[in-house]
């Protein structure tokens, strides 16, 4: 059983003197009410955005985090591993007013005794069943979070605009032998290691096991982006990315529309190449996606034991949390803003990686709110301040939504 850690659990002054740290690196255990996360690197933008708000909250929480592959993260929380690589943390506005979430997060120092930091909250950016079919160990549970889209991308200089599942099957499943022009150079197939959600979900859409995918694996999404940007042959290059990573690199990379097995046309995740509305993920025209999953210590009822973890996850899920954010903000806007799709905006669902889609009717839909946040068409939506404005319907996030 882990114990809740609060501010003031600093290393003794003697140790700080003995183990000098870089000028701006503080011991993680000195950070204000810290919570340790191990998340997929596609989820770092959300960790930074939400972390800043939490650090500035009237009841501040400091997110200390490391990024790793989804399967690695699941294994870590299942086997009670600790963080032993240098973590990052999200500073408050008081601590670092010049920092913003577009900047790299500062690092903090692990405990000097080598014990590492126990993980409070782990994240997988795809189905847990993609990594393990084992049931969670006693005391560990998980909930599904917002949906994450995944993309096949090419350098901006490429003329390619679409990928069919059949093409992808041959390109990534056979490599050069697949004879899919222009993607026949396996050195220019930019992939991820098989523990990463990005390859698990994209390859599932091609019916290629992630471990069999041809190409050069890059450990971090940022490394893959940099390698693609520097590709010596843009036309022959193709890679895979989480949508929110792509959204931050649209000036140098192009999304490929994707045509799934049995589909008549190829579609982008968004309604058009340049849109950011995730329309096709939401309505099922774009197939490579998976839910994010959040894992942590739970009680017998399945509720997160750590109130701070419950509050963080509740915010990500768009639930009412206690205490509410102070100063107030809508966490769902942050989720949408980083390119994720809250469950309430989805119209389709699936049960496992690459599984068939089925229609989905969320309990509290938020279509209009989602569209308002992504610059979509809200002409048919009715703004409201309360249920009384909705003619028998319900007012949710400022819009009358269909309940």
């Amino acid at each position: 059983m882990r114990f809740r850690r609060l501010m003031g659990s600093a290393a003794p002054a003697c140790c700080a003197a003995l183990f000098a740290v870089p000028a701006e690196a503080a011991p993680c255990t000195d950070l204000d009410n810290f919570v340790v996360l191990q998340v997929g690197d596609t989820q770092e933008p959300l960790a930074k955005q939400l972390g800043r708000k939490l650090a500035d909250d009237a009841e501040p929480i400091t997110l200390v985090y490391v990024t790793s592959g989804s399967c690695t993260n699941i294994e870590a929380i299942y086997t009670d591993l600790s963080v032993t690589t240098t973590p990052k943390f999200v500073p408050s506005s008081n601590d670092d007013p010049s920092w913003d979430p577009s900047m790299p997060s500062p690092e903090c120092e692990l405990p000097v005794d080598g014990s590492g930091l126990p993980i409070d909250l782990a994240n997988s950016a795809t189905f847990v069943s993609s990594c393990t079919t084992d049931d969670p160990p006693a005391g560990i549970g998980f909930v599904s979070g917002p949906v994450q889209g995944y993309l096949f991308v090419v350098p901006e200089a490429s003329s390619q605009t679409a990928l069919t599942a059949e093409e992808g099957y041959f390109a990534f499943g056979f490599g050069e032998a697949g004879q899919v022009t222009p993607w026949v150079n396996e050195e220019l197939l930019f992939i991820r290691p098989p523990t990463k959600s990005t390859i698990l979900t994209t390859m599932a859409a091609l019916d290629v096991p992630a471990a069999k995918a041809k190409g050069v694996p890059y450990d971090k999404s940022g490394e893959l982006v940099a390698a693609m940007q520097a590709s010596p042959d843009p036309e022959a290059s193709i890679g895979i990315l989480g949508v929110e990573i792509y959204d931050r690199n649209r000036d140098t990379l192009n999304a490929l529309a994707f045509q799934a097995f049995g589909q008549n046309h190829a579609y982008y995740p968004d309604s058009t190449f340049s849109a950011t509305d995730k329309q096709n993920v939401r309505d099922g025209h774009y197939v490579p996606w998976a839910p994010t999953v959040f894992l942590g210590e739970v009680d017998e009822a399945g509720s997160f034991v750590d109130d701070r973890v419950a509050r963080i996850v509740g915010m990500i899920l768009g639930e009412d949390v206690q205490p509410p954010p102070d100063p107030p903000f809508d966490p769902l806007a942050l989720v949408i803003g980083v390119g994720l799709i809250p469950d309430c905006a989805m119209k389709v669902t699936r049960k496992f990686e690459g599984g068939d889609l089925s229609l989905y009717d969320p309990a509290t839909p938020c279509d209009c709110y989602f569209l308002s946040e992504v610059g979509g068409d809200v002409d048919a939506c009715v703004a409201c301040e309360g249920d009384e404005d909705c003619d028998g319907g319900a007012c949710h996030h400022g819009f009358c939504e269909a309940y």
Partner: protein, 108 residues
């Protein structure tokens, strides 16, 4: 996805391609020796399951061929082929390793 499912999916794809070929216009597969890629209009609605790929600049479907989009999708294949106003791309890649019956060979 099993080989049989892949094969059925491929048949569905062939059906849609046959449908589009019968439509004329900027049909898929116009890219000559390489792969052909065409941006098409949205897969727009019709009366029930429709054979049109949509109004405006859309291509594909028409001519009484296989239905191109579904107005009231229920199944997976209908959902991914539902009528939509989204930008659609048609592509007809050359795939030398396809089996003669159009199915996919096993991975090496």
């Amino acid at each position: 996805m099993t080989s049989s499912i892949r094969f059925l999916s491929f048949l569905a794809l062939l059906a849609s391609m046959a449908s589009m070929a019968g439509c004329g216009g900027d049909s898929a597969g116009s890219g000559g020796a390489g792969s052909g890629t065409d941006a098409v209009g949205p897969a727009g609605p019709g009366a029930g399951p429709t054979t049109t790929a949509g109004p405006g600049t859309g291509s594909g479907g028409g001519g009484g061929g296989a239905q191109d989009c579904f107005e009231n999708p229920q199944t997976h294949l209908e959902i991914i082929n539902a009528c939509t106003d989204a930008e659609a791309i048609d592509k007809d890649p050359v795939l030398p390793l396809l089996n003669p019956d159009g199915s996919l060979p096993p991975l090496p």
